[in-house]
């Protein structure tokens, strides 16, 4: 018998806010976080807009009371601490607690600093900048900060990574292996990803326009998003106030191309369909979809086609919050999970910025205003390179 898995807390840090309540204000005021690069030292400064977190590594280290480590780890610690604090869980040490964190760049941000000196003279460069390079290290640093020892794991399946962390965490609780799981993801902006996505020619030089007919690529962003998942037993013992459950999820492979999505969105369609089946819900039960909606020609066409096929003509309200945050890669599933939980808790849906005209042949018109409305079930999509497609459903408990 699989018990319910509750979302007891959530935390977020991204271009539109350093906490989940701050992001809510940005959604209400339609304040975009996309702007020019300020911190990263790159030739793309002033050319490619990004969604930067407005705190420096020093600020983050001060706030998290953590000696300066990689930006990826600091962002993760910040959001995971918020998630845990908001859960009301006082003592996690009495439970089997896990941390599942996703990241795609790990400690690359500091490694890039190291190479500035090292590549000129291989006796130079501060080795402290590379010891935290690997993806798993950022998870360990977060686990240490939260004092989580029981189970620690890192997932990297590109842009679907952090939804997969939450799915994995949910399964571990459902199968009775853990009682509490902090799950989500974190990624800092780096030259590595900026140059890489630029080489794929899918970065827009303007702020991105997801699901718009004139969309011309994505903006990279950075941040972290985590949720705290607990079993029914923990919920009752700790008398927690959790009004949201993870009701459905699925992961599929598009089996089409290394980076491109199939035009008909078969992987995303299968993920949404299976997630609905797991949740035992009908398409009409979904009140809001937080789209993957990167703003690339390919993703939005593919996802839009799949959504249309899945939901027919009576579409739920839907939007891509990447129009605010940029695409935060390994963090986006965690961030958007935190937003989805907030949509249910606050009974609202978030706008999709810069939308003017629907994609021809698909005709989907996203939500363009912040709106208070009944929200019982939210679907959040995340699709990654490698054909990795995930869909997760959060429901009112």
């Amino acid at each position: 018998m699989k018990g319910k898995v509750y979302v007891a807390g959530a935390g977020a840090i991204c271009a539109i806010g350093n906490s989940l309540p701050e992001t809510l204000r940005a959604f209400q005021n339609k304040t975009s976080g996309i702007g020019h690069i300020t911190s990263l030292d790159t030739v793309h400064k002033g050319v490619l807009p990004v969604g930067e977190v407005k705190l420096s590594n020093k600020d983050l280290a001060l706030i998290t009371k953590h000696k300066s480590v990689t930006r990826t780890a600091l962002l993760g610690i910040h959001a995971a601490q918020e998630a845990l604090n908001s859960s009301g869980l006082k003592d996690i040490s009495r439970y089997r607690t896990g941390l599942i964190s996703a990241t795609t760049v790990g400690g690359m941000d500091l490694t890039e600093n190291f190479f500035v000196d090292f590549s000129k003279d291989n006796s130079k460069g501060d080795l402290n900048d590379v010891v935290n390079h690997e993806c798993g290290r950022s998870t360990e640093l977060i686990a240490d900060a939260l004092n989580i020892r029981h189970y620690v794991s890192t997932i990297n399946t590109a842009c679907s990574s952090s939804v997969n962390s939450i799915i994995f965490g949910t399964k571990l609780i459902q199968h009775g292996m853990l009682d509490v799981v902090v799950a989500g993801g974190t990624d800092a902006l780096t030259k590595f990803t900026l140059n890489g996505f630029n080489s794929l020619m899918i970065l827009d030089k303007e702020p991105c326009r997801p699901f718009d007919a004139t969309r011309n690529g994505l903006n990279l962003g950075e941040g972290a998003g985590f949720v705290v998942l607990v079993s029914q037993k923990v919920l009752e013992e700790q008398k927690l106030n959790a009004s949201v459950i993870v009701s459905g999820f699925a992961n599929t492979n598009d089996a089409f191309h290394q980076t491109a999505s199939s035009p008909e969105g078969r992987g995303s369609f299968n993920a949404m369909k299976l997630a609905l089946e797991v949740a035992n819900l009908q398409p009409a039960d979904i009140d809001y979809i937080n789209l993957h909606g990167t703003g690339t020609v390919n993703n939005d066409q593919s996802e839009g086609t799949a959504v249309k096929r899945m939901f027919g003509d009576t579409l739920p309200k839907l939007s891509s919050t990447k129009s605010f945050t940029g695409h935060t890669l390994g963090a986006c599933g965690g961030l958007e999970a935190a937003f989805s939980v907030m949509a249910i808790e606050k009974q609202c849906v978030f706008p999709n910025l810069r939308f003017t005209q629907a994609m021809p042949d698909i005709g989907i018109v996203p939500q363009t205003e912040f709106q208070s409305t009944k929200v019982n079930n939210v679907m959040s999509n995340s699709f990654g390179f490698g054909g990795n497609c995930s869909s997760i459903i959060f429901s009112k408990a």
Binding site: F192, G196, N253, D254, Q258, G386, G387, N388
Partner: protein, 201 residues
Amino acid sequence: MITHHCRIVNKTIIVDGVVLFHSDAASLDDFLLDAYKALKIDYPKFYKMDNLSKAGFLAAEMLLKKSPALKYAGEKISLVLANAHASLDTDMKYAQASQSVPSPALFVYTLANIVAGEICIRHKIKGENAFFVSETFDAALFESYVSMIPADHLCLAGWVDVMGKHHDVFLYLQDNASPGKPHRASTLNELYKKEYGTVNG
């Protein structure tokens, strides 16, 4: 049940304990190409893959050719992979190339789960994918994670690690509908360590 397994280590491909191919090629690049040719696989996209994908591709090819994977619909086949070096081998090549112009074809492979994507494209696998990174082969992780895959799925799982010359691949099929060895961490460790040990190639 673990129905088949494939090991690629020390420039040798071993399927169910039987050596299928060995070469004394000077580099891992050459070994992988030699193997592709010797095993008479016709899939020109192989040439464009990075070494991690090539290694995973070859092991998957050995297993899915051998096993009646076809009786499973693509949606009912899952893939669970792990390694130690993620895509670091290609990350370094990409960083090198980026000194002049960043190469999109290399950037694509700077993600460990592209090997999963390549295997899925080749074998039309559309089920669940997961990719874990751990310092060493973690049999307990596989036992627990693969056991959570729906019982009516075929699961291709295992370790695919490549870094420079180092190559260490252990893929296996877990199939509840066929006879085989029980899917336990102890069995997985035994199969992984058997014959060739954990020698770094």
